[in-house]
Symmetry: C2
Subunit: 257 residues, 2 copies
């Protein structure tokens, strides 16, 4: 079923990682690669990611910029009970609505804590912008929420992942990007000219070249990505032939999709 | 030497991670945390990071936005010999100058390759925007470069780190952010009210609260950051007392600066 002459349906996303701890280098982000892969499985292309500080004005202006520029926005971080958890308030301000206690989120928290333990700080975790829908949290008691095309998730990776795995099936994606990869021990500079020529003949297949250096071993992994399985296969076959013609031994990686 | 009444000198940076492989989830970024820590050591605050695709127009417009909004910009990725290495051309276009072969970069490449091996693709690694200064590369032969306040580095972590370690000493920073951290096994919701009150009394010390969950163990790490060592020490002492008063056992982390 050749479809290379029909434009693929492209659905885009931007991820906002909210947190001073990532920008200070104290914490290595563990959410971006997970979201990138999960979105790809849902047929959504992650086109940009930003790491921004716990700063009200920066969060509000960034959200208002990217929610108009991408089909979906996913944020991580800043929805706990402490003073530095300001994401919900920022989302309310970005959308120009009030911050309210969501009745269902309140019930979830009430059922979780012993009587008397649902203090004002913990109740902050039930506060969402007016009109937001809760995102079920299978791991802990504090839900994420969705407002417009923005999905607000916690920063703790295990909890973020639990919420995302449940909401993923509700996302409406476009044509899924398929990928193949071929590695060889040729130098990039040896491959570059023929590779550029191959890329020109396959404008619908994105070819990336990634050199690697590990344990005295070096080489390059070439990644081909596109929405049309047949075109992708044809480009991959030509690439392998190209590598062989240059004296290399093309090794195809595990199928990635 | 109390200096809490004088405004700290703040120098800011933005990091641009250029690469489809990060946005596809194929590669986990390994450069951001390194740069964040290195910049902090140089007295420079990383205020934002963006991951953007290998897309000419996106790179040009993003560079032109952030180079005016931050004191320093550091980019990683896209300066190799293959067709998808478009960062140098994008920087030339962002600054409105020509892309030229830098004579010194050419000499470096000529001395590295056997006669006849410096082909057109490899010569791409000697191309920089007119007016750019080379950044010495102690690991491989392709230099990074600096144009205006933008420092262009490769994406391969070991090479990026080698170049950054050399240029770090030439960066002009401001007051360095010092940090202390205190962990305890109290729940965030138990701490939140007192913590917020402490933050209000120390507006010059940024207090972040990071819950952790590992091997059945849970608790929270509280990170205090500021430029005045005495104020930081006073806030840390008060924080430990606060934790003790709530029945917790405050454990101070290793000094981070």
């Amino acid at each position: 079923m050749p479809s290379s002459d029909t434009a693929p349906k492209i659905v885009t996303a931007c991820v906002l990682i909210i947190g001073n701890e990532i920008l200070s280098g104290r914490t290595q982000d563990a959410n971006l690669a997970f979201l990138a892969q999960g979105l790809n499985e849902a047929g959504i292309r992650l086109r940009e990611a930003r790491v921004i500080p716990d700063d009200h004005d920066v969060i509000v202006s960034t959200v208002n910029e990217v929610r108009h520029g991408f089909d979906y926005v996913f944020t991580t971080g800043g929805i706990g009970p402490t003073h530095d958890d300001i994401t919900a308030q920022c989302m309310a301000d970005a959308f120009g609505v009030a911050l309210i206690v969501h009745p269902e989120a309140r019930r979830l928290l009430e059922s979780h804590y012993p009587p008397g333990h649902l203090n004002e700080a913990r109740l902050r975790m039930a506060m969402v912008p007016e009109g937001a829908a809760l995102l079920p949290n299978p791991i802990s008691r504090a839900p994420g929420f969705q407002i417009g095309n923005v999905y607000v998730l916690p920063g703790v990776p295990s909890i973020m992942q639990g919420i995302f795995e449940q909401l993923k099936y509700r996302l409406i994606g476009g044509d899924k990007v398929l990928s193949r990869s071929v590695s060889c021990q040729l130098a990039e500079g040896t491959l570059a000219e023929d590779l550029g020529e191959l890329q020109e003949r396959y404008p619908d297949v994105e070819i990336g070249s990634y050199p690697y250096f590990r344990r005295g071993d070096f080489g390059v992994t070439l990644v081909l990505r596109g929405t049309d399985r047949e075109r992708l296969a044809a480009a991959t076959d030509e690439l392998k032939e190209l590598v062989r013609n240059l004296g290399g031994d093309p090794q195809e990686g595990l199928s990635e999709g």
